[in-house]
Every structure is written in C-alpha cells, then in structure tokens.
Symmetry: C3
C-alpha cells in the first residue's frame, strides 16, 4: 500500500506536468493559468469519478499531499521545460504509465463501492482520461480522446482484464501489473503501427 | 410503473441514437467517440440533476440496463444510419417525445426529494436538455438550447403544468400525459410556425 | 448574519447581471438564453464548490430566494441595458465586490467543513471565478481567468489572508472586511497599472 501511495502521488504529479506543458503549447498563459490547467488535468478524472459515485471526500480534498504533488509537477515543468518538450518518447511513456495506473485504481475503487463491472470499467477509463478532456474543453481544443490512436479504448480493455482476473481470484498486485501492462502494450502497439479504431460511418457501409 | 420503466429505457436509447448521429455529423469520430458522445447525450442531463440534488446512486450507476439501452441505441444508429438521417420528421418526433418524458420524470424526482417547485421545474428542464448541452460543448458546437426554437422553454412550461396539476391533486398518470403533451404541443407549434422567443436586446428598446 | 444574507443575495443578483450582459455581448441570444447564462454565471462557482465538498443541499436548491435574486438581476440587466454598458467603471467595482465577497464566503464554508487551509483557499477562489469559467465555456470564449489581469490570484491572496487572520483569532467581521479589502485592493492596482502575472515560459528562461 505504501508503494502504491507513492505511485499515486507520482502519477498525479506527472499528469500535472503533462497538463502544464499542454496548456503552454497554446495560449502562453501566465503562471496561474498553467498551474490551474495542470491541476484540472491531474485531478479532473478522479474527481469526476468520485462525484459520479458519490464517494466523498474527493481524494485531493481529503489529502493535501496530492495538491503538493501537482505544485511540484508544475514547478518541474517550468524548470525543465526545454528538456521535457524534446523528450517526446519519455513523455509518451509517462503518459501511458499514468493512464494505465489511473485506470486500474479507478476501476478498483468503483468495484470496492459495489458497482456493476461495466460501470467500474467506465469509471476506470473516466479516471484516466476525463482530466484531459476537461483540460481540452477549457483550452478550446478538440478533446484528446476523439483524436488519439486507441487511447480510452486501451483503458477499457485493461479495466476489463482487471475485472476478469479479479473475479477469477487472481492476486491483486499481479492483477494490477498484468492489467496495467495490457494498457501499456495496446498503446505501444497502436502508436507504433499507427492503429486506430474503425470510423463510425465507414462501418455502416460494410 | 413497469410501462414507465420501459419508456425510460426507450428514451435513454433514443437519446443515445440522437447523440451518436449528432457526433457523426461533424468530426467523423471512431466507434469509441460516437459511443462516448451517445452516452453523454443520453445520461448527461439526468446525471447533472442527480449530482445537483445529491441523489445517489445516479440512475445508470445503479442500474446497468440503462447502459445496455445506450449501447443498443448506438448500434441501431450505426446499422440504420442511412435511413435515420433521411427521417428528419420521425427524428423530430422522437426527440420531442424524449424531452417531454425526461422533463416530467426529472420534475417528479426533484419534487419527491422535497425541492421548491421552481427548483423542481428547473431540474426537469435540466434532465431533458443538459445532456445535449454537454455533447455540444465536447464537440465544440454552440449549445443547442441557445439556437433551437422554443426548446428548453417548452420543457419549463410542461414542468410548470405538471407541478400545478400535482398541487391540484390530479391523477399522476393523467398529469404525466397532459404535461408531457403540452411540451409536445409547444414544440410542434414552434417548429411549424417558426416561432422563437424575443431576443434579449430587442426587448430593451421597446 | 442578516446583513451578510442581504449581501449574498445582492452578490448573486449582480453576478446574474454581469452574466446576462456578457451573454448578450456575443450571440444575441433570446430571453431564455440570457437568463440561463445569468443563472450559470451566478450559481456556477458556489455549486461547483459544494459538489466538490459534498455539501448538500446546494445553496440555490435549498433556498429559492437566490433564484429570485437571479431573475431580478436579469430583469434589471434588460431594463437598464443602455446605462449599464456605459458604466464600465461601476461594473468593475461591482464585479470586484462580488468576487471579494464570494471568495471569503467560499473559503469560510470550506473551513467550516474541516478542509485543509490550502483546499479552503482554492474553494474560495473557485466560488468566485468558476461561474464565469462555465459561462465562457458555454459561450465558447477563452475562460476569463486565463486573460484578466491578476484575477483569480487576487482571490487566492484574499483567501490566504482570511485563513491567516482566522488562525490568529481575529474577529470574523473585521477579518471579512480586511481580506475582502485585500482582493479589492489587488484588483484595483492590477487594473490601474496594467499588472499581470509573469508568463509561464518567460520565467523558464530567466
């Protein structure tokens, strides 16, 4: 549990870095704006999940360490800006680690509150991607989940595997790494081979 | 109650169809994107109402049948896409039936939780129209309620009639059909005769 | 408490005026649209705060007087439109009084629910500015907090002072005016001398 807590803080900080960099991409906002966007990107998904589930207090409201992690992330994004934007590959890795971890944690939390597996998988996916969606709405971009190669779908697949293995009685930590690993694997393959889901309309003609 | 439950599932599925078609109108998103937009359109209004009222669990979180209804709606939208886009008139009817039903159900739920009638009427209107508003924000359109002929206002009128008849002790099912019928009637007349509300500014000059 | 209640209603009504005028600036919406935008601008921030904190009922759901204040604000915005748009200075004063009061009230409420001071300061700022953010998203503008001279940051500074003085045992009403006054002062100076926060990127090069 200790290690997972550290992972969660790291994931929160990383999402704040990614949000801060994404925000700066566009409107050259001031420090407040960048921190605000980093904050929303980082806690948006988990907050929406908890609000939809009626699970209070929200993680960052109950534990201020998550807010510190966000501030640290934004500060790091500022200090190492020049290096970070060059490291597209490192970035991809961190983003993928982040969504993999947040998906499984979100799915787990929803299951622990007694939701149907289908709802739990959705909540896992929401945890991972909705912070980015809210960020995109605020910065007036097309939401990332409508554009990226197999992104939210990879989260759903990982959540589904987690639930299946959980029902089958698998060890929780093993399950965590297997299901998170599936998300990682799908993302890597999708980006490497430029795979995407079929378009809605093309399908209707088949 | 049985019949109403079937109506609710049908309404949920229809709103998913309408959301899926609206999503495809624009960005030609993939299957995930279309399903996601269909989902938001369908459950957005009721979810917002329940979050504002603090009424948990949200309908689709507590009952997975509503999620099945959404998947069915998106699948139907895909299979019958060519026919559906030609049937503008059928579509108008379904949309109007949908907002009429969702308005009354939302008003009823808010009243049953003890809200002031004015709040209950707003909650009814939110139930009917806010899913479409969230959909429009995500797809970067001007929210439909700012554009359509007498749309949300028709919902408010129906909600008001429902509350009046309820206070007057009218039979619930009769009230349901009368108040829902008023919404239907206002919409049909507004579209038929291209009626719209006065603009805000024009009024200030009178 | 009586006087504060009147202040709250006045603040609510004023935010509705400002929302209605902002809405009309753009798309010339109808009466419904303007009232809707006025409503969202006015209650959006406090509602988001209460939803994040899980504090029910929301203020306007539990007390219909706030809804009346909004309707009155929109009606006044319509009646005195020509005068109001000329009074940019009066407007600035009202907006600043509004965000000052809403910040302190929001911070106070969060503290009373036992949150960490850092969370309480954020909640105070959210109360003041998030209604405007939601309004800007719905009307497809760049959110005001990313553009205005030292705006949300002034709220954070006032909230911080309030919390410090509260910990130091200051009289509540004195604290209310001192902390609110700080927000007013920062805003006046920022606008008068066209001050803004440093841009995120410029800093990284220093």
């Amino acid at each position: 549990m200790e290690i997972q807590y550290i992972f969660e803080l790291l994931g929160t900080g990383f999402f704040a870095i990614s949000g801060a960099l994404a925000a700066n991409d566009k409107a050259r906002p001031d420090w407040f704006g960048v921190t605000f966007i980093g904050f929303i990107t980082s806690i948006g998904g988990g907050s929406l999940r908890d609000i939809l589930l009626g699970s209070y207090p929200l993680v960052w409201v109950g534990n201020v360490h998550f807010i510190y992690a966000i501030f640290a992330g934004v500060a790091l994004a500022s200090l190492f800006f020049k290096y970070l934007i060059r490291l597209r590959r490192t970035f991809f890795l961190f983003d993928t680690l982040g969504i993999a971890m947040f998906t499984i944690l979100g799915t787990e939390k929803a299951l622990s509150l007694g939701t149907h597996p289908l709802v739990a998988a959705m909540m896992g996916m929401f945890t991972a991607v909705m912070g980015g969606v809210i960020r995109d709405v605020l910065t007036r971009e097309i939401p990332v989940i409508f554009l990226k190669e197999i992104y939210a779908t990879a989260c759903l697949a990982g959540a589904a595997l987690y639930i299946l293995l959980e029902k089958a009685g698998a060890d929780r930590n093993l399950n965590f790494f297997l299901s998170g690993g599936l998300i990682l694997l799908i993302r890597v393959i999708a980006v490497r081979y430029k795979l995407s889901l079929p378009q809605f309309l093309r399908d209707t003609n088949s």
